[in-house]
Symmetry: D3
Subunit: 166 residues, 6 copies
C-alpha cells in the first residue's frame, strides 16, 4: 500500500498554498460568519420583544431559554468561521497589505464573547460592523469588488457582498 518512493506532487502543493476547511479546499466565504451575526442580532431583537411583555407564561419562559441557547450556538459559529479563514487563508501577503487583520480578528473574538454575554443590540451591531469590515478586506484581497446591500430577510441589516458577474 505504501510506496517508499516519494514523488513531488505539484498539484497537491498548489492546493496547500491557498485554502474553508484546512483540507485545504480553497472555498472560503465570509457569508457564513455574516449570517451568523445577523442571527445573533435577530435573536437579540426577539429577546427584547419578549421582555416587553407585561405577563409571562411558561411558554414565554421556555422561548427565552431557547433564544439564549441559539445565541450561544451562533456566537460559536461566528468565532469558528472567522478564525478558520484567518488561520488558513490569511498569510504573509494578506497581512502585509492589511496590517489591521490580527487586531481586527482578535477584536471580533472578544466582541462575540460580549455579544454572547449580553442582550444589548448595540453590541451585536458593532460586531456586525467588524465582520463586514473583515468581509470587505477578504474580497479585496481576492481582487473582487464589493457592494453593500440590505440582506433579504430579517433583521434587514446591511451586509458587504462580493460583486458577481451574472
Amino acid at each position: 500500500m505504501y510506496h517508499l518512493l516519494k514523488k513531488l506532487d505539484s498539484k497537491i502543493k498548489f492546493a496547500t498554498a491557498a485554502a474553508h476547511c484546512d483540507i485545504p479546499c480553497k472555498i472560503y466565504d465570509p457569508i457564513s460568519a455574516q449570517i451568523a451575526v445577523l442571527t445573533m442580532i435577530r435573536l437579540v431583537d426577539l429577546l427584547n420583544d419578549l421582555q416587553e411583555k407585561t405577563f409571562y407564561n411558561p411558554e414565554d419562559n421556555a422561548q427565552f431559554i431557547r433564544l439564549v441557547g441559539q445565541k450561544e450556538l451562533y456566537g460559536n459559529k461566528v468565532k469558528e468561521e472567522i478564525s478558520m479563514i484567518w488561520g488558513d487563508y490569511i498569510k504573509k501577503p494578506q497581512l502585509d497589505k492589511y496590517p489591521e487583520l490580527h487586531q481586527l480578528v482578535h477584536s471580533i473574538m472578544m466582541e462575540t464573547s460580549k455579544a454572547k454575554q449580553s442582550v444589548d443590540k448595540e453590541i451585536t451591531m458593532s460586531l456586525l460592523a467588524k465582520v463586514n469590515r473583515f468581509a470587505d478586506i477578504f474580497w479585496q484581497s481576492k481582487g473582487k469588488s464589493t457592494f453593500v446591500a440590505q440582506c433579504p430577510y430579517p433583521p434587514a441589516q446591511l451586509l458587504v457582498y462580493p460583486l458577481l458577474n451574472a
Copy 2:
C-alpha cells in the same frame, strides 16, 4: 415566576407564522446548502487528482481519508440545511404554488446519499443542479428575482443568487 394569565402576543405569533432554525427566526438562506454542495464537488475533484498519481505515499493516503471524511460532513450539511428550510419555511402556500417541492427535496436527500457513497463528479454536479433549483424556487417564493453567476472560488460552478439592491 409563571403567571396564569395568558396574553395573546401578536408579535410572537407573527414570528411563529413564518421561520433558519425552528426558533423560528425567519433567517433562511439556501446559500449554506449551495456552498456545502460546492465543497463536495471540490472534494471529489481533489479525490480524482489524487487517484491519478502513479505512486502513493502515506501522506497521500492520509489525505484521501481526510477528503472522504470531509465529504461526509458536507453531505450531512446539505441534507440538514435543505430539510430545515423545507420543514420550517415551506408551508401550504409554497406547496400550492410549487407542487414539485416534496419530490425535489426527497430527490436531494437521495442524491446527497449517492454523492456521499461515490467519487463520481457527475453525481455531485447533478446534486448541484437540484439544489440550485431549490434556491430558485425559494427566492421566487419570497418575491426576489434571481440571477446565475460563477461562484468566486473553486470549483467555479454556477450558482443561483438573489438579486440584491445595492
Copy 3:
C-alpha cells in the same frame, strides 16, 4: 492502491439498493424516533409539574432550563431519524404504495418544530400519532405485521411495534 480495472460488485450494488445511515447498512428502525417523541412528552409532563408549584427556588429554575434544553435535543432527534429513513429507505415502490408519505413526513417536521416551541402536551401527543403512523407504514412496507402496546416506561403511551417471532 487504485486499480484501473472496475469490477461490477453485485453484493455492494445490492446493498446500495436499499439502506439507518446512508452507508447504506439497511438497519432502519423507527423505534429511535418513537422513543425521542416519548421523551418529549415526558419532558412536557415534567415542565407542567414544575409550573404547578407555588414557589420557585433556583434549583427549580435550573431544572426548567435543563428540561427545555433536553426537549430541543430530542426534537432534533425526531427530525433526524425520520428524515433519514425517508431520504434513504423510502423510494419509488414505497411512495407508490403509500402516497401519503411525503405529506406525512413534512407534517412530522412542522409538528416537531411546534413541539419544540411549546409546552402544550396536545402537540407532542399529536406528533406521537404521526410518528406511530409512520412506523406502521414502515413495518407494513417490509411485510411485518404490527401491534400496539403501552411502552414499558413513562410516559406510558401507546406505540406501534413490529410483531417478532420468538
Copy 4:
C-alpha cells in the same frame, strides 16, 4: 425570581429517585445500545465483503473509510448508552440483586474498544452477547419478562426484547 421559601415537592423528588438522560426522565431502553451493536456487526460484514474483492477501485477505498468511520460512531454510541443506564438507573437495589453488573458493564466498555479496533466478527458477536445479557438484567429488574427474537433487518441476529402486552 427566586423565592427563599423551599417547598418539598414530592413529585419531583420521586422523579429524582429513579432515571435515559440524567434529567432524570426515567425513559431507559437498552434497545438503542442493542441497535448500535447490530450496526457494528453489519459494518464488519460489509468490511469483510469488501476485502474479498480481487480488485479495488477508489470508490471501494472510500467506502472502506466510510465503514470504519461509522463503526467508530456506533462504538461510541454503545458505550454512551450502556454507561448512561449504568450511571443513572443502576443503583444499590439492582447491584444487590445482580452483583455481576459492574463487571459486566466494564467488560462491555473494554470489548467495545476492541470491536472498534478490529474487523473480526467474533468480537462484535461476543459484544452483542454481553449487551443482550445487560438488556436481560435490565428488563428483569423492572419486572418485565423477556424473549429472544431475530431482529427484523440485517444482520438478522438474536436480540433480547421485553414482552409487551398488546
Copy 5:
C-alpha cells in the same frame, strides 16, 4: 491493497495492551476530568452569586441560563473522561490492586448526575473529592508519586497532581 499474509506486529500488539482514546494511544490524564469538576464548582459559585441579587434584569436571567447550560456540558465531560480511563486503561491488574475502582467510578457517574441537577456547592465539592481519589489511584498505578496543591485559578480548590521531574 489487502495482503492475505498476516504478520504478528509486536509494536502494535504492545500498544493495544495499555491505552486517552481507544486507539489506544496510552495518553491518559485525569487532569481533564479534574478541570471539568473545577468548572462545575465555579459555575455553581457564579449561580449562587446571581441568586443573591435582589433585582433581576434580563441579562442576569440570560446569564443564569448560560451558566446552567455550561454546567451540563462540563458534567458530561466529567463522565466521559472518567469512563474512558476506566474502560480503556483500568484492567485486571489495576482492579486487583484497587478493588474500590468499580464502585468509585460508579459513584462518580451518579454524583455527576446529581451535580448536574443541583446548584448545591456541597455536591460538586463531594464530586471533586471522588475525582481526586480517582486521580490519586491512577497516578499510583503508574508508579508516580502525587502531591496536593491549590489549582492556579478560581475556584482555587485542592487538586491531586503527579510529581514531575523538572
Copy 6:
C-alpha cells in the same frame, strides 16, 4: 420575572473583566492544548510505525484510518483551546507586555493545519514548541513561575508546567 430596575452588580462585572469558556469563568489552562498536541505527536508515531510494516492486513488499514481521524479531532482541539484563551483572556495588558502574541497564535493556527495535513513528526514537534511558548507566556502573565518536565506518558515530550505550591 424581569424587573425593570437595573442594579450594578460589581461581582458579575468583575467576573466579566477577566475569564476557559466565554461565560467567563476565569478557568484557563493551556494544558488541554498541550495534551492535544502530544496526542497528535503520538498518533504520528503510530502512523509511522504502521508504515514500516512490510505487509498490510485490513485491520492495519482500518487502524490507519482511525489514526488519521483522531489526528483531525485533536488538531481541531488545539485550535479551539488556543483561540479560546487568546480571544477571552488575552487583552490589552497581555498584548502590551507580550507583543508577539497575535503572531504566535496565528502561527499556531497555521501550523496545526499543516500538522493535520501531514504525517511528518517534525511539524508536530515544531507545533509543540509553539504551544509550549504560549503556555510559558500565559503562566508568566498570571505571575506564575514555570518549569519544564517530561510528560508522564507517551510520547514522553517536554512540557511547560506552572510551578504549584504543595
